[in-house]
């Protein structure tokens, strides 16, 4: 399957739909994080240059925290998102769809050491291109996934302008769903495209052109249970 969707069944008996993020958005998120970390280290370096050798100690401890601690702390305490991942709307989750825990996050970030080999995240890049869920080696060891966080959607179906029209024949559930999906997507399509799609259903609507579109929207209204 060419799809990046993973279905995970939860204890509540429903499926979570996880959409794995590929190499490029992850690399971009990493680059943003890298710039931020470099900025922190650089700013600390400038600030403590005045403090001499005590400052040097602070500098080394900051270096340690930024290098090893930054991703772990963000991933666990900020719902699986470092600043770079937040910018690209990515999120680290356990492969069960649950939030990433301390142990898993520590594992996947320690394993960066191996993903970075031989240079410039070579192993990690190859692994995430080969793996169907684009996991790098660290994700495989930790049992985690990087997924696209859900985009904020419009609340519910849009209002349909057409008056309800009962379909002339009884439609199967999948057919009804297709008609409703057409109605929901209609605002995103040009009028010509709407007519083109509606023309495919001439046996159902009996007409072409704008009338066909209006009839389909009307049927969608009826299927959704609107009353005129």
């Amino acid at each position: 399957m060419l799809d990046t969707l993973t279905l995970v069944e939860t204890p509540e008996g429903i499926s979570l739909h996880l959409r794995s993020a590929g190499l490029m958005p992850r690399a971009a998120a990493w680059a943003i994080d890298f710039a931020i970390r470099l900025g922190i280290v650089w700013a600390t370096g400038v600030a403590i240059a005045l403090l001499g050798k005590t400052g040097m100690a602070i500098y080394l401890l900051v270096l340690f925290v930024v290098f090893w601690g930054y991703p772990v702390l963000f991933e666990v305490l900020r719902d699986g998102q470092t600043l770079g991942k937040r910018a690209l709307n990515l999120r680290v989750v356990a492969d069960s769809g649950a939030p990433v825990g301390w142990v898993a996050s520590i594992t996947r970030n320690l394993m960066r050491t191996v993903d970075m080999l031989p240079f410039c995240y070579g192993f990690g890049a190859v692994a995430s291109l080969v793996d169907p869920r684009s996991r790098r080696l660290g994700d495989m060891v930790a049992g985690t996934l990087v997924v696209h966080a859900e985009p904020r959607r419009a609340k519910g179906p849009p209002a349909l302008p057409a008056a309800p029209v009962q379909p002339p024949v009884v439609l199967a559930p999948a057919e009804r769903a297709a008609v409703v999906a057409f109605a929901e997507r209609a605002p995103l399509l040009t009028n010509e495209r709407q007519q083109e799609l509606a023309a495919l259903l001439q046996p159902l609507t009996g007409t072409y052109g704008n009338d066909a579109v209006q009839r389909l929207l009307g049927m969608a209204s009826a299927i959704l249970g609107r009353r005129s």
């Binding site: 080394l60 939030p99 559930p173 769903a177 959704l224």
Partner: protein
């Protein structure tokens, strides 16, 4: 039930849950406290979440519209992330980890640990012994510049008040030891994923290096400052490196010989234990860095204090690893 009536029936509930999630997921704790009131009480969240799960299942079964199902899915996933969020580390959990979980993990993987310790300590002690009989062999392991450097570091004629370093302050050396040693420990563990080659190489070369330095300095009569410097902090430091290597080997074995598990499953299990071991190694190395920076380097410390403390630390750490948490029932190991 038609979709419209379904939405009319439950819409308000979804809106409330959505608003609660928006508020609870705000980054700053203060905002969460201020805004959560008036939306929905926290205690009602699990029940509301389960109701939405059930409504999602119904909506999918009844083939309601994609937009509605998508909205419910998003709501459920966000709720799932909040409901199963990991707990913040509590002081008690940290205590339990170092008191019981970590030593028990070391013992559970005692085979890897034994192999790692052998890879590290055998070359170390073998070289110390050999160099007493054949001192010239030191030049076969280390180049002349490196030997000159360690000789200069531990020259008994210099450094009356400071052992093992030049003019740097204690605090700066603490920072350096934390950064350097913990990074070495973490890398030793992680490189085990390369079928175990990483830890084998790191352990053996470090064992040889330390053995050569110790043997050489003892042979040329600089042993005094050297042993006085390393005696105490070597206990947590060397043992931590051996444990990190053992955790790495166990990771390598999960790749090489997963046994009756799938390779992926074996890796996840080895990784989970490995991360906990790495956390313990981190604790031990921070302790070692602290001792090395603030205690080991004090030349004024009388040997009558220094060496008994060092012996106590070695015995104490070995006893902790051998006995820690042994009274707990075997299944009380928290899995997360």
């Amino acid at each position: 039930m038609k979709q419209e009536s379904f939405q009319a029936l439950h819409g308000a509930e979804w809106d409330a849950l959505e608003r609660w999630l928006d508020v609870r997921l705000q980054p700053r704790a203060r905002d969460r406290l201020l805004d959560a009131s008036g939306v929905m009480a926290d205690i009602e969240f699990p029940a509301a979440y389960r109701r939405v799960c059930q409504q999602l299942a119904l909506a999918e079964r009844r083939a309601y519209s994609t937009l509605l199902i998508e909205r419910l899915r998003e709501l459920v996933h966000r709720g799932h992330l909040v409901l199963y969020r990991p707990r913040p580390p509590a002081a008690r959990a940290i205590l339990e980890f170092f008191g019981a979980t970590f030593p028990r993990l070391v013992r559970r993987h005692w085979r890897s640990m034994a192999v790692a310790a052998a890879l590290f300590f055998v070359p170390l002690f073998a070289l110390i012994g050999t160099l007493q009989l054949r001192p010239e062999l030191a030049h076969a392991v280390l180049g002349p510049e490196q030997l000159a450097e360690v000789e200069e570091m531990y020259d008994p004629a210099e450094h009356e008040d400071r052992l093992g370093r030049d003019e740097q302050t204690d605090l700066m050396m603490f920072g350096f030891y934390v950064w350097n040693n913990v990074s070495i420990g973490f890398r030793t563990f992680a490189s085990g994923l390369l079928v175990g080659i990483g830890p084998v190489v790191t352990l053996a070369t470090n064992g040889m290096f330390i053995g050569t330095v110790a043997g050489h300095l003892t042979a040329i009569g600089y042993g005094g400052p050297f042993w006085r410097f390393v005696a105490t902090h070597s206990a947590p430091e060397l043992l931590a490196i051996a444990i990190a290597g053992g955790a790495g080997l166990q990771l390598g074995m999960a790749v090489l010989a997963p046994g009756r598990r799938s390779r992926g499953r074996a890796l996840v299990e080895a990784g989970r234990d490995g991360a906990k071991l790495a956390l313990g190694v981190f604790g031990m190395l921070v302790l070692a860095a602290f001792i090395e920076a603030f205690w080991s380097s004090k030349a004024a410390l009388p040997d009558l204090v220094r060496f008994p403390v060092a012996a106590l630390l070695w015995i104490g750490i070995l006893a902790w690893l051998a006995l820690g948490g042994r009274n707990l029932p075997p299944d009380s190991d928290p899995e997360r």
